[in-house]
């Protein structure tokens, strides 16, 4: 972080930025530095335990449908086990799966799912957040669907 501060000071001395701008940049640096220093540099990142899927659908006035809410919590352990299961699929079956995925337009190779890549995959999921907002018009009004996928 000192390096960033030095760069700001060099820009200030070179006349590229004003003193006010430098002050603002340093303040921003300090702000971004604050959360890391509270937990301590050596504190391990908190591992997510669950994958959550929340769906909130409004009916848009349709008297036959009504609002629907779905709340799913899947333990990460189950995902880990699922990845391990993919490693047990025989080679012939994997080829069939890959072929079927390609036919559906999904360019994914199931051979890439390996137990040794498991932790990396789950770690990446920790920072996953997907928000989907859909607005459809039906005969009664606006139908709104909100889908949220995240880890906690």
């Amino acid at each position: 972080m000192n390096e960033h501060r030095r760069q700001i000071l060099e820009m200030l001395s070179a006349g590229k930025i004003t003193a006010d701008e430098a002050e603002r940049l340093i303040a921003a640096l300090e702000k971004s530095d604050a959360p890391a220093s509270v937990g301590g540099a050596s504190a391990p990142a908190k591992k997510a335990k669950y994958l959550r899927v929340l769906v909130d659908a409004e009916d848009g006035g349709d008297p036959h449908q009504g609002p629907v809410k779905v709340n799913i919590r899947v333990p990460m352990q189950l995902l880990r086990a699922g990845v391990r299961l993919a490693g047990l699929i025989p080679a012939q079956a994997r080829d069939h799966v890959n072929q079927a995925l390609h036919e559906k337009g999904i360019p994914f190779d199931i051979n890439q799912i390996r137990p040794e890549n498991l932790e990396d995959l789950v770690d990446q999921l920790n920072e996953l957040t997907i928000d989907v907002d859909v607005n459809n018009k039906n005969g009664y009004g606006d139908e709104k669907v909100k889908v949220r996928v995240f880890c906690e």
Binding site: V68, V70, R73, P75, L85, L88
Partner: protein
């Protein structure tokens, strides 16, 4: 640890038409254990044919079973609330 209890709850509106079913999964596991032992040779043969390490397959199956613990599925609409929990 494998799940010991499953809960299925269905609440129809009004709430008088509701039920909650607690399934003691530990009893199910105890009942399935003799069956699992009986089918073990067949399982080993299938693993040999499919060229899968049987120990790894058992470990994965156990991991899936253990991973189901704490699963929570809740679906709520205008007519009913359905809740499935594995504890």
């Amino acid at each position: 640890m494998i799940p010991m209890v499953g809960v299925i709850s269905v609440n129809h509106w009004p709430r008088s038409r509701s039920f909650r079913l607690w399934i003691p999964l530990f009893i199910v596991w105890i009942l399935l254990l003799p069956l699992a032992i009986l089918t073990l040779p067949l399982f080993l043969v299938v693993c040999l044919i499919a060229r899968v390490n049987p120990l790894e397959a058992i470990a994965t199956f156990w991991a899936i079973l253990s991973g189901c613990r704490d699963t929570h599925i809740e679906i709520n609409n205008r007519d009913a609330l359905v809740l499935i929990r594995i504890l």
